[in-house]
């Protein structure tokens, strides 16, 4: 008898109207089941939420870092239409040098020849004494520019009009923070500022206050002033094509204009360059788009402390892989535990659930689980960001308007990605088989194999990453302490570069410094650690005139060797007793047949094609009429980044005034801060009206290795999290698997296996994927680090010790992770174990 209450459509022979897709009530019901299941199985919930939370935190933090790095200059209006004029030097014996600095002499011809240029400005950053008319001047960075600066860089204004901010030579535009520093307020328009450059104090009126330039901009001026005429007259770069002093920026109306100008530059150089010292083929110009400079400058002259795109990409990859590692945990734990839900699945199917409905239910569960994980991840990211910023030297903050929609997408995508495979496995159970079985299905051999593959992949990533981290940190540590060919500790640099007047008083300054208590040696030179100032010339071997490399010339005063601690490898150092050791002037007149002693470095020995240092001794080089006798060879001195090769160089000793010089002071027995105060006091006795520009050499050089050191720390953090995530997954799997195998262990022990046998069996099975992971990790890490280290001229050797240490540590950590579970199971009494299930 048919049930009279059933509607007609429910009769067996009628078409069935039911949808196979889930409804909201069904999903809610499924999710409710899942949430209660999580509250019952807290370990499972905690492993998933903590693992995914950590993965999301690393992903968020590193995404923000990548976004910050890739976002450089993109906020600037017309950023895509701004290019920098760069120089390409191809000098004999030196290879190709791409310089981010360009001669200012090209500025006017360039604008005349290329009407496509909408606006152009040169920028020359100088350390100047800046005052507000009262009190002591402060040393600040002043950017001397052309009046069209704001036409190129449309910086947002706080107060004033960009169009006429630099229209007159007595106007300056200053940033908000500079205004606050100078005047205590941002309302600085109309106030007066004194800028002392090259001993000349000029009074300017603040014509505009622009918003502080954010840290993700390449050009970040504090004070903008138009080039004074006397600066143009004095500075070689304004009239000499072989000299450069700053950068030249061009804005175009269309991208095609930039390409056209770039294509026309070789012809422009050929047509316009008028410098007899620059030989054909040595010099060319090219355009570098502003948006490419942040990453592109790393290997350019002047950009050595820039960002390494590969490192940033690697950080982004780490963020993604940390998330993938957490997803792997979820998939592994979910599929491993799938058997526990088999009866629920069977029951739902018996009650009429379709497979798509079950798949949707499990995907919804996964997405729902991602919500607390995302909240935890963002909270952890918020907590970690101050440390990450400090570690990496960034100014990254969470922009929630940017993050939240993306986080919703991440929750959805990761939820579906993590839930898909478990959903397919779970929904695929056949109810009759499940209901007939006496124990829950384990997921089969395929499931077990897949879990092993995923664990291998997860640990492979973690181990490879940890190896890379060790290598990056080792290289950073090496750079910090590497032998630079001179002693950088307890060495202080006092600059005389910005003042012609002080250059004229070099000897007085040196005498004053020498009189400071605790000073061991004082010298003078025109090259110094981390300075792009260098002059080059081509020298010819007299015995082999075909060998004529370009050598960098460093003019030095007395006591240079003692102050810098350079090491002589052959010959002798300069000695005043030898008449020709000390040049009468810093500038050798190469039209006169003078003979001067020089010392060269080891790279110059190679460039001059001497078989060894000793062979170079007594050899004579010529520069036109002038002759130079090699009296000694010193070890290479690295003033620049470890990425840049040391240039072949000669040292020229003189007691005459050395232009653009720096005084170097060695004081081994005095604390750096105390010595700096003493030097400053000594400076005031001879130049009370001039700002003291002094710095410790090791502090200045830190800028070269600090980025690698900072990123090394971030890699350490990422590697640590990756390993923690992997261990969380391993712990989850081992605890689950151990519990499932209690019965099996009971049988084994009944058959005679000892606790030790069982322990060996379990540990071996859990550790096998971890050990296999090394097979993936080692070659990946080796290739990645070989490529990275190749970017350094001075680098560590890629030693197997890092590989062994990380692999042993990973195995040990994994062992610790699983040991508790396995020991407990292995020690279970057989009778009790056999009752388990």
């Amino acid at each position: 008898m048919p049930n009279p209450r059933l509607p007609e459509t429910d009769l067996p022979n009628t078409r069935l109207p039911h949808s196979r897709l889930p409804n909201a009530g069904l999903l809610a019901h499924g999710v409710l089941t899942f949430c209660r299941m999580l509250s019952r199985h807290r370990l499972y919930a905690a492993l998933n939420i903590v693992g995914l939370g950590l993965g999301i935190a690393v992903f968020v933090v590193l995404s923000l870092v990548v976004r910050f790095e890739y976002g450089f200059d993109r906020r600037l209006p017309n950023a895509a239409l701004i290019d920098r004029l760069d120089e390409i030097w191809t000098l004999p014996g030196e290879g190709r040098t791409h310089s981010m600095f360009s001669t200012f002499a090209a500025y006017d011809p360039l604008r005349a020849d290329f009407p496509q240029i909408a606006a152009a400005t040169r920028i020359d950053d100088n350390r100047c004494a800046v005052d507000d008319g009262r009190g002591q001047p402060a040393t600040m960075s002043v950017s001397f520019v052309d009046p069209a600066f704001f036409d190129v860089f449309a910086l947002p204004m706080r107060d004033g009009d960009a169009r006429d901010a630099l229209a007159a030579p007595d106007r300056v535009a200053i940033s908000e923070s500079t205004a606050r520093r100078l005047f205590g307020t941002v309302d600085a328009r109309g106030r007066q500022v004194g800028i002392t450059n090259d001993d000349r104090r000029t009074l300017y009126t603040v014509s505009a206050v622009f918003r502080d330039v954010p840290p993700d901009m390449t050009v970040r001026p504090d004070i903008l002033a138009v080039f004074p005429q006397d600066m143009k007259d004095r500075t070689l770069a304004f009239r000499h094509w072989g000299s450069s002093s700053g950068a030249t920026w061009l804005r175009f109306r269309a991208a095609a204009d930039a390409r056209a100008v770039d294509a026309g530059l070789p012809d422009f150089v050929h047509r316009r360059m008028a410098d007899p010292e620059v030989k054909p083929g040595w010099f060319n110009m090219t355009l570098s788009p502003l948006l490419d400079t942040h990453f592109g400058d790393l290997h350019n002259f002047g950009g050595e402390s820039g960002s390494d795109r590969r490192v940033i990409d690697a950080l982004g990859l780490v963020g993604l892989l940390a998330l993938v590692a957490a997803v792997i945990n979820y998939v592994n734990l979910a599929t491993a535990r799938a058997g526990l839900r088999a009866r629920e699945v069977a029951l739902r199917k018996v009650l009429g659930a379709t497979r798509p409905q079950l798949v949707a239910q499990f995907l919804a569960e996964s997405v729902v689980l991602l919500v607390p994980c995302a909240v935890l991840g963002v909270a952890l990211a918020e907590l970690a960001l101050p440390f990450v910023n400090a570690m990496g030297g960034w100014a990254v903050a969470i922009d929630y308007a940017w993050l939240l929609p993306r986080m919703a997408l991440v929750v959805l995508l990761v939820g579906v990605a993590a839930g898909l495979y478990p959903a397919l496995v779970l929904s695929g159970y056949r109810p009759a088989a499940v209901l007939a079985a006496s124990r829950a299905p384990s997921g089969g051999r395929m499931g077990q194999r897949l879990r092993n593959v995923l664990v291998v992949a997860q640990f492979g990533f973690a181990i490879a990453f940890a190896i890379c981290t060790l290598v990056v940190n080792a290289q950073a540590a090496f750079l910090r302490t590497a032998d630079r060919g001179f002693r950088q500790d307890h060495l202080f640099l006092v600059s005389l570069e910005t003042s012609d007047r002080m250059q004229g008083r070099q000897q007085a300054v040196m005498d004053a410094m020498r009189a400071v208590p605790g000073v061991d040696a004082v010298t003078l030179s025109d090259r110094q650690p981390r300075s792009n100032n260098q002059s080059n010339s081509d020298f010819r071997r007299t015995d082999r005139p075909s060998v004529d490399p370009m050598l960098t010339i460093e003019k030095i005063g007395r006591n240079y060797r003692q102050a810098y601690g350079v090491t002589l490898v052959a010959g002798r150092w300069f000695d005043a007793a030898h008449g020709q050791d000390v040049a009468p002037t810093a500038q050798i007149d190469d039209n006169k047949p003078t003979t001067t002693s020089i010392v060269i470095n080891e790279r110059a020995v190679q460039a001059l094609d001497f078989p060894d240092a000793a062979s170079a001794l007594g050899q004579v080089l010529t520069e036109r009429q002038a002759r130079f006798v090699i009296i000694g060879v010193v070890r290479d001195v690295r003033f620049m980044s470890a990425r840049a090769p040391v240039t072949p160089q000669l040292y020229l000793r003189t007691d005459a005034v050395i232009p653009f010089s720096v005084v170097a002071v060695r004081a081994d027995g005095v604390a750096p801060d105390a010595m700096m105060r003493r030097l400053q006091a000594a400076w005031r006795t001879i130049a009370p009206d001039m700002p003291f520009v002094g710095e410790a050499a090791d502090g200045r050089l830190a800028n070269y290795y600090r980025p690698d050191q900072q990123r090394g720390r971030l890699f350490t953090l990422g590697a640590g999290v990756a390993i923690v995530i992997a261990c969380l997954g391993l712990y989850g799997l081992s605890s689950f698997s151990a519990a499932r195998r209690v019965h099996e262990i009971g049988i084994r022990k009944t058959l005679g296996a000892s606790t030790r046998d069982v322990l060996g069996l379990l540990v071996g099975q859990f550790l096998r994927p971890v050990l296999l992971a090394n097979l993936i990790a080692w070659p990946v890490a080796w290739m990645a680090m070989r490529g990275w280290l190749a970017g350094f001229d001075q680098r560590i050797a890629l030693s197997p010790s890092a590989f062994v240490v990380v692999s042993v540590a990973a195995a040990a950590l994994s062992l610790l992770t699983i040991l508790g579970q396995t020991v407990r199971v292995a020690r279970a009494e057989p009778a009790k174990a056999l009752r388990h299930e």
Partner: protein, 227 residues
């Protein structure tokens, strides 16, 4: 006629072994019947019940439900068939631990997409019918075996199915609770429900209107009980 099984076969094949679980099964069940299936372990009772429940497919033969050949339906249609026409009572109850009793009962209706208000009315009615309404907010672990089985019966009948399948519904219960469950099944049958029950208990089988005995995958006896 509600159910007609003709020449049903069920073979299980593994790599090297082929096992015949059912062969030559011919069985007709009318609406309103209460059929008890008996037989020793491994005789194919549960396999037959699973085929009736459409959670297992026969290797051969025809399964007609009304005038519909279920063997031709795809899995998705069978799922819809189950949710609409079948109720299933398990020996081990199979209540979901994470859901309350009323949520477990409601599960059968959720797949039918009934409005929430109607679901609530039906769930309450089903629970009251088996005397479990006062335990609606409890979880399965808080109930005795007998109460759990009554909850499982409520879940089976809440959708007012055409056919209730019971797989040893008293197998995990003591005598008193077993008797209570049988009382409920009899009452349901008296009210018009068609029931097929697998049991090991001759006394419980005697309470059905018809008894089918199986041996080695075949039906050996099919007799109507004197009531």
């Amino acid at each position: 006629m509600l159910i007609q099984l003709s020449d049903i076969q069920r073979l299980y094949r593994s790599d090297e072994v082929e096992t015949t679980a059912l062969h030559d099964i011919h069985l007709s069940i009318d609406r309103g019947e209460f059929v008890a299936i008996m037989g020793p372990s491994g005789c194919g009772k549960s396999t037959l019940l699973n085929i009736l429940a459409t959670i297992d497919r026969p290797s051969g033969g025809v399964y007609r439900f009304g005038d519909r050949d279920l063997g031709r339906l795809p899995e998705s249609e069978l799922a819809i068939f189950r949710r609409t026409h079948l109720g299933y009572i398990f020996q081990s109850f199979n209540l979901i631990d994470e859901l309350t009793i009323e949520e477990n009962v409601e599960l059968a209706l959720i797949y039918r997409k009934l409005p929430r208000a109607e679901r609530r009315i039906r769930v309450a009615a089903a629970m009251d019918r088996v005397g479990i309404g006062h335990r609606a907010r409890h979880y399965p672990s808080q109930l005795s075996g007998g109460q759990q089985q009554r909850a499982a019966i409520a879940r089976a009948i809440v959708g007012e199915p055409d056919l209730i399948l019971a797989d040893e519904p008293t197998g995990n219960l003591d005598t008193e609770n077993g008797a209570q469950v049988m009382d409920i099944l009899q009452t349901l049958n008296d009210e018009g429900a068609t029931i097929v029950m697998v049991t090991h208990s001759p006394s419980h089988a005697d309470l059905a209107k018809r008894r089918v005995d199986m041996l080695d995958g075949q039906i050996v006896i099919s007799v109507r009980n004197a009531i």
